[in-house]
C-alpha cells in the first residue's frame, strides 16, 4: 500500500511539473485569440494578408487538349493539355464585363473561340457607359502574337455574347446589351479579314432577348429570340450577309404548338439546313428536354418539322 501511494504521488508530482512546463510556455507565448475577429484583430492580421499569395499551379478547366484556366485572376491557355501555358494579355474582369452572374471560374459560353489555328476572346473595356466598347483579342499563331480589334463602339453593357469564325477570314460576333426588363438591343457583326475590321449587319428587327444566333456560311445567318417565356420560335434569317433580316416561318404541327418554342443555331446537313427547337426554360413535354428537329430546304426561310430528338441524341 505504502509503495502504491508513493509511486502515485511521485507520478502526480512529475505530471504536474511537466504540465506546468507546457502551460507556462504556452500561456506566455500565445495571446488570447477571440473567436470573432474585430477591428483590433483585423489590424494585427493585416500584414499577413498583404503578403502576395503563392501562385497555385495551373489546372485546365476541362480535359480538352486546347483549353484554358482563369486561376490567379488571369487567363492562361494551353494547346497541349496543360503542359505549356500561354498568358492572354487581358484583364480577367474585362472578359466578364456587363451582365454576368457567376463565379468567374469559367469563361462565358461562346464568348471565346479556342482552336489550333485561331484563339479569340470577346471582351469589353472603357470606364463609363458611353466609353464602353466591344473588342476582340485574337491570335492565329497559338498565342505568340496577339492582335486586338474593335467590334463596335460605343456599346452598352453586354449581355449575350458570341464569337465564331467559319474559316480563316470570315467570322461573326453577336452581342446584345442595354437590357431593360425583357427588352434589349442586339446586333450581329461580321468580319471578312480574320477579325481585323468588323461591319455591323442590318438592325435587328426585334428588341426581344436574343437566345441563339450564328452563321452557317458567309451569307446565311440566324438570330433566334425569346428567352423568358417563348411561345413559338422567333427566328430571323439573312441570306445576304446581314444586309436584311427576314422572319423565318416555322410550320409547326398542332401537336407541338407551344411545345417547341426556342430555336437553336441551324447547321448545314447535305443540301438542307437543320435546326433543333427546344422547349424553352419552362418546357415539360416528355420531361422538358426533348427537342424538335426542323428542316429547311430554302436556306432557312421556311422550316418543316422532321422528328423528335431525345436529349442524349443531341449531345
Amino acid at each position: 500500500m505504502k509503495n502504491v501511494i508513493l509511486v502515485l504521488s511521485g507520478f502526480m508530482i512529475a505530471g504536474l511539473i511537466i504540465g506546468t512546463y507546457f502551460y507556462h510556455n504556452q500561456a506566455s507565448a500565445t495571446l488570447p485569440q477571440p473567436n470573432q475577429p474585430n477591428d483590433l484583430q483585423e489590424n494585427t492580421t493585416l500584414p499577413d494578408e498583404q503578403e502576395q499569395p503563392q501562385p497555385e499551379p495551373l489546372q485546365p478547366v476541362n480535359n480538352d487538349t486546347i483549353t484554358y484556366t482563369l486561376q490567379n485572376d488571369e487567363l492562361n491557355i494551353t494547346f497541349n493539355n496543360g503542359n505549356d501555358w500561354v498568358k492572354v494579355p487581358i484583364e480577367k474582369d474585362q472578359l466578364f464585363e456587363g451582365e454576368y452572374n457567376g463565379n468567374k471560374q469559367e469563361l462565358i459560353e461562346n464568348s471565346y473561340m479556342l482552336t489550333e489555328n485561331r484563339v479569340a476572346f470577346i471582351y469589353s473595356d472603357g470606364v463609363d457607359l458611353e466609353g464602353k466598347r466591344i473588342r476582340l483579342i485574337y491570335s492565329s499563331d497559338q498565342g505568340i502574337t496577339w492582335k486586338e480589334s474593335v467590334v463596335i463602339e460605343p456599346f452598352p453593357p453586354m449581355r449575350f455574347r458570341k464569337v465564331d469564325f467559319l474559316n480563316d477570314q470570315f467570322g461573326y460576333a453577336i452581342i446584345s446589351g442595354d437590357r431593360t426588363m425583357s427588352q434589349e438591343y442586339s446586333r450581329a457583326f461580321i468580319t471578312h479579314d480574320g477579325g481585323e475590321t468588323w461591319e455591323a449587319t442590318a438592325e435587328s428587327p426585334t428588341t426581344r432577348l436574343i437566345a441563339f444566333g450564328g452563321f452557317v456560311d458567309e451569307t446565311t445567318g440566324f438570330l433566334s429570340y425569346g428567352t423568358i417565356n417563348p411561345e413559338e420560335p422567333d427566328v430571323y434569317v439573312t441570306q445576304d450577309s446581314g444586309e436584311t433580316w427576314n422572319e423565318a416561318v416555322f410550320n409547326m404541327p398542332v401537336k407541338y404548338n407551344r411545345v417547341f418554342v426556342q430555336a437553336e443555331v441551324p447547321v448545314k446537313e447535305e443540301d438542307h439546313l437543320v435546326v433543333l427547337v427546344n422547349q424553352g426554360p419552362n418546357g415539360d413535354y416528355k420531361g422538358g428536354l426533348v427537342k424538335g428537329e426542323f428542316i429547311s430546304e430554302d436556306n432557312g426561310l421556311t422550316w418543316n418539322f422532321s422528328a423528335e430528338v431525345q436529349p442524349n441524341e443531341t449531345e
Binding site: 501511494i5 508530482i13 504536474l16 506546468t20 500561456a27 477571440p34 474585430n38
Partner: protein, 287 residues
C-alpha cells in the same frame, strides 16, 4: 482513544489523497482539452494555484497515511518546497505578462473575465463556462490604462469601466441574461420608452434619443451615440467617451405590446473612475 484518533487521521489522509488526485485529474484534463475546445482557465493564475493546492493535499495525505523516515521527510520537504517556490515564481511571471480581471456575480452564477496582455495592450473579454473555464469572446476596442473597475448592475449585468490610454473613459458591459423570453432580440432603448425618475435624476427615452437630467442639468444622447450590449444594457456616449450606462433590472419585464404599463426598474450608472453607485429609477409616465 488513540486508535480512534488514528483512524480519523487515516480517513482525513485518504480524503486529502483523493482531493490531490482530483486536482491532478483536473489539471491534466484541462491540458488535454484546452487546445481542442479552445478554452482557458478564467484566470490564468488558477493553474498555479491548483497545482499548489494539489501538492499541499498530497503532502498532508502522505504525512497522515504513511510512517516516514527522517531522511525521506527531509527529501520530501525539499521537493515540495522547491515545487511551491517555482509555482509562485511562475504565477508572478504570468501575472506580469497577462493581467487577469475577474469578478464573480452577486449570485455566484457568472464570472466576468477580462485578460489584458500587458505588453501589447490588447484586452479580451472572456465568456465563462462551468465557473472556471472561459473562451475569448471579443476584444475591447480601447487599450486599458491603469485604472478600471467592475460593478454588477444586476445579477447578470456587469459594467466594466476603464480609462483608456487616450485618457477617455469607456464602458464595456457584459450581459449574461435576458428580460424577454430569450427568444427574440429587442432594443433596450425602445423597451424603456417613457420618463424614469430616481434620486436627483430623470431619464427620458423618446424617438429623439435618451435625455439624462442630473441635478437640473439635461443632456440628450441621440440614438446613434447609444450602444447596446446584449439585450440588457446600453451605453450612452458623448464625444466618443462613455457617459452613462443604463441597464434593465432583474424585475424589468419586456412586453411585446408597447402600450402596456412598464413593469420593473432600470438602473443608471455614471461612467466615472470615482467610486459611485448605480441609481435605481422608477417608471413615471410615457413621454
Amino acid at each position: 482513544m488513540k486508535r480512534n484518533k488514528n483512524r480519523l487521521m487515516k480517513r482525513i489522509g485518504w480524503i486529502l489523497f483523493l482531493c490531490a488526485i482530483g486536482f491532478f485529474g483536473l489539471q491534466m484534463g484541462y491540458l488535454l482539452i484546452q487546445d481542442r475546445y479552445q478554452v482557458e482557465y478564467i484566470d490564468n493564475r488558477l493553474f498555479y494555484i491548483i497545482n499548489i493546492f494539489c501538492v499541499i493535499c498530497l503532502s498532508l495525505a502522505i504525512l497522515l497515511l504513511l510512517k516516514l523516515t527522517k531522511r525521506f521527510k527531509l527529501i520530501g520537504t525539499i521537493v515540495v518546497g522547491i515545487f511551491m517556490i517555482i509555482q509562485i515564481v511562475l504565477l508572478v511571471d504570468s501575472d506580469r505578462k497577462i493581467n487577469n480581471i475577474t469578478s464573480v456575480s452577486p449570485n455566484f452564477k457568472h464570472v466576468f473575465s477580462i485578460k489584458e496582455n500587458r505588453d501589447s495592450g490588447e484586452s479580451f473579454y472572456y465568456r465563462s463556462y462551468y465557473g472556471i473555464l472561459a473562451r475569448p469572446k471579443e476584444s475591447l476596442p480601447y487599450e486599458i490604462a491603469e485604472d478600471y473597475k467592475v460593478e454588477w448592475l444586476a445579477k447578470d449585468v456587469a459594467a466594466f469601466t476603464y480609462e483608456t490610454a487616450e485618457n477617455t473613459i469607456q464602458q464595456f458591459i457584459a450581459t449574461y441574461g435576458d428580460r424577454g423570453g430569450g427568444i427574440a432580440y429587442y432594443y433596450v432603448g425602445a423597451e424603456m420608452q417613457g420618463v424614469w425618475q430616481g434620486e436627483n435624476v430623470e431619464v427620458i427615452s423618446d424617438p429623439d434619443g435618451i435625455t439624462v437630467t442630473e441635478n437640473g442639468r439635461s443632456e440628450l444622447f441621440e440614438w446613434e451615440n447609444i450602444h447596446q450590449f446584449g439585450t440588457l444594457a446600453i451605453v450612452l456616449k458623448k464625444n466618443n467617451e462613455a457617459a452613462w450606462t443604463i441597464s434593465l433590472d432583474d424585475n424589468f419585464v419586456v412586453h411585446s405590446d408597447a402600450l402596456e404599463d412598464k413593469v420593473g426598474n432600470i438602473r443608471l450608472y455614471k461612467a466615472t473612475m470615482e467610486k459611485n453607485q448605480p441609481i435605481k429609477l422608477q417608471y413615471q409616465a410615457s413621454y
